[in-house]
């Protein structure tokens, strides 16, 4: 059959109800644009908020504590072995290690050029969780020099607050390693054991004064009553802001760094809003398809006598369905490609103007957005064909 839509077009009342048809096109275009843009925004938010924290081998390291409230202030807030095992068992947590603290009194005393004395705390953690491990961060029994890894925040506090107020010298991150302090560790009976200590590295990740784990184990056993249950646990996770992790921590009433918690919360809220817009986009598309189906029903109803006569003359119902439905394929292609084009322009504008060209974002749309546009096109064509075919077979 060497026929096309143009041959049967005069027999259909498709030119009527233009307003309804254009409304349905506009609705479909709006829905497609909403869906594609919100999907792209969802991906943008994930990319913008994913790589914010320093990572080692693609992991986030965050410390958690149990929340201390007015009601539970006096109770035990340490983590049991069961707590840690439960944390490790979560699929979104790659590993978890406790931060062990000293179980004895520690005092640090400076030299004549650095005259100070202060009570101190010491902690240790498995080396795999420390971001900067110099070769000298080891200890053997009998060794009287203790290597320390200190938080870089502490050095900053010392240099900006402590040193000026006490008229003490300031140190750079390199020169601090040359400073040797005396470490007095007291047993329960008050007998001191004296060590020398110096900073071998600074850590951006762990806010603490870290010593080698075997030293703390030995000292806790020798000077105290052994290791005490940890109050802090470090988590190793692929995404510190994942919704699953946030929900787990919330459920267990564990506390993480407030900035990170807020950050994760903001991400959740933003993604929820964008998901809501996506759902609205889908709703608009469905409404537009419904409006279009009413338009089609009206066209076919008004052309009913002519279509029936075409079938009587020998026109095949399958050919008529396909030909009438095909008439709208270019319209769908134009609408959905326009939606995709506007999404591309939106993404380019969002990255270059709204986000000042941030490198985490691509100026191009994500491939999944293109795939969704193709899927929408496929669905529109199939739904349209089925609608026309159903209406024609009803004649």
């Amino acid at each position: 059959m060497n026929l096309s839509y143009k041959h049967i077009a005069p027999f259909l009342s498709a030119k009527q109800n233009r307003l309804q048809r254009w409304f349905s096109y506009f609705g479909l275009g709006t829905g497609v644009l909403l869906l594609l843009c919100s999907l792209q925004m969802y991906i943008n938010i994930s990319q913008l908020l994913k790589d914010r924290n320093p990572k080692k081998n693609g992991y986030d390291y965050i410390s958690v504590t149990k929340i201390i409230t007015n009601e539970n202030m006096g109770s035990n807030h340490s983590f049991s072995k069961g707590d840690i095992d439960e944390i490790k068992a979560q699929p979104f947590i790659a590993d978890a290690m406790p931060l062990l603290a000293n179980n004895f009194l520690v005092k640090a005393t400076g030299s004549s050029s650095l005259p100070f004395t202060t009570d101190l705390f010491l902690e240790s953690i498995d080396n795999s969780f420390i971001d900067t491990i110099p070769p000298g961060f080891t200890w053997q029994e009998g060794q009287d020099v203790i290597p320390i890894i200190m938080s870089s925040d502490y050095l900053e506090l010392y240099n900006t607050v402590f040193a000026p107020s006490k008229d003490l010298p300031q140190f750079s991150s390199e020169s601090i390693s040359a400073v040797m302090v005396q470490l007095e560790c007291y047993s329960a009976s008050g007998v001191p054991v004296i060590f020398k200590a110096h900073v071998v590295a600074l850590s951006d990740r762990i806010n603490s004064v870290l010593v080698p784990q075997n030293f703390l184990d030995w000292a806790n056993k020798k000077l105290g009553s052994g290791n005490i249950p940890p109050s802090r646990v470090f988590l190793k996770t692929t995404d510190a802001n994942s919704a699953d992790l946030q929900n787990f921590l919330q459920k267990k009433q564990y506390n993480i760094n407030k900035d990170k918690a807020k950050f994760g919360r903001v991400k959740q809220v933003l993604q929820a809003i964008v998901s809501g817009i996506s759902a609205f986009g889908v709703l608009v598309i469905l409404l537009a398809m419904m409006l279009f189906s009413f338009y089609l029903q009206l066209v076919i109803e008004r052309s009913k006598d002519n279509l029936q006569l075409l079938l009587t003359l020998g026109y095949s119902p399958a050919w008529l369905s396909k030909t009438v439905a095909k008439r709208w394929v270019p319209v769908y292609v134009v609408i959905i490609l326009s939606g995709l084009l506007f999404t591309m322009l939106f993404q380019y504008y969002f990255r270059s103007v709204a986000m000042n060209g941030r490198e985490e974002l691509s100026p191009f749309i994500h491939w999944t957005v293109g795939a969704v546009a193709l899927l929408l096109l496929f669905l529109s064509v199939v739904i349209n064909y089925r609608m026309v075919s159903r209406l024609l077979h009803k004649l």
Partner: protein
């Protein structure tokens, strides 16, 4: 190639009126190439028979076989193909697209399965005296003109059987003869059968078989 009627009777017919019919409840065979004249008074079911043969209605008992295949078993697609290539019809009520021009009415049929080139439409229209109507809307044509349009439309496709249901009811004698000549010429080109049903015998139809309903 043949159409066989196997004791067919419309479901809405009582047995009595069909008792003397040479069609109803009879075993009848129409072979390709035969000219068959069915003479049927009003109310004897002439139009029903034509519609049964064209596959428009299925409310009959018995069977109509087309090359040993039951017409009732044809699905919509097979029926469409059959109407494109093997059977053509002139309806008693013409069934034209009244809001389209005469030419559009004829082209939409010719294009479906072209047997003749497009200029054949003008040739046929000239022979039947309606060439000046080709550009006019069908709704502006008289019944006689519409009947000639319906006849030309039926002759624009390939067919093995041509069904004519009172095809000349609105034509004068001269136009009837012209139309019959054209029909017989076209049937001869295809070696096709003509099955003409009318109220009374038509003398200028060279029927080989006459059946009374």
């Amino acid at each position: 190639m043949q159409i066989s009627l196997k004791k067919i009777l419309p479901v809405f017919f009582s047995q009595q009126p069909a008792a003397n019919s040479q069609i109803w409840q009879q075993e009848v065979v129409f072979n390709k190439g035969e000219y068959i004249h069915i003479i049927a008074p009003s109310g004897s079911g002439k139009t029903s028979l034509v519609h049964f043969l064209y596959g428009l209605k299925k409310d009959y008992n018995g069977e109509i076989l087309y090359n040993n295949e039951s017409l009732k078993e044809f699905n919509a697609e097979k029926l469409a193909l059959w109407r494109q290539q093997h059977i053509s019809i002139v309806f008693q009520d013409m069934r034209l697209f009244t809001e389209q021009t005469v030419l559009q009415n004829l082209e939409i049929k010719r294009l479906l399965h072209p047997f003749h080139p497009a200029d054949k439409i003008t040739t046929m229209a000239k022979r039947l005296g309606i060439e000046n109507k080709l550009g006019k809307l069908c709704s502006t044509c008289s019944y006689g003109e519409q009947q000639r349009i319906a006849i030309i439309r039926a002759l624009l496709q390939p067919f093995d059987f041509l069904l004519l249901d009172e095809p000349f009811s609105h034509l004068d004698e001269a136009n009837r003869i012209k139309a019959m000549e054209l029909i017989e010429e076209e049937a001869a080109v295809r070696n096709a059968s003509i099955i003409l049903a009318d109220l009374k015998e038509i003398s200028y139809f060279k029927a080989e078989k006459k059946l009374v309903m």
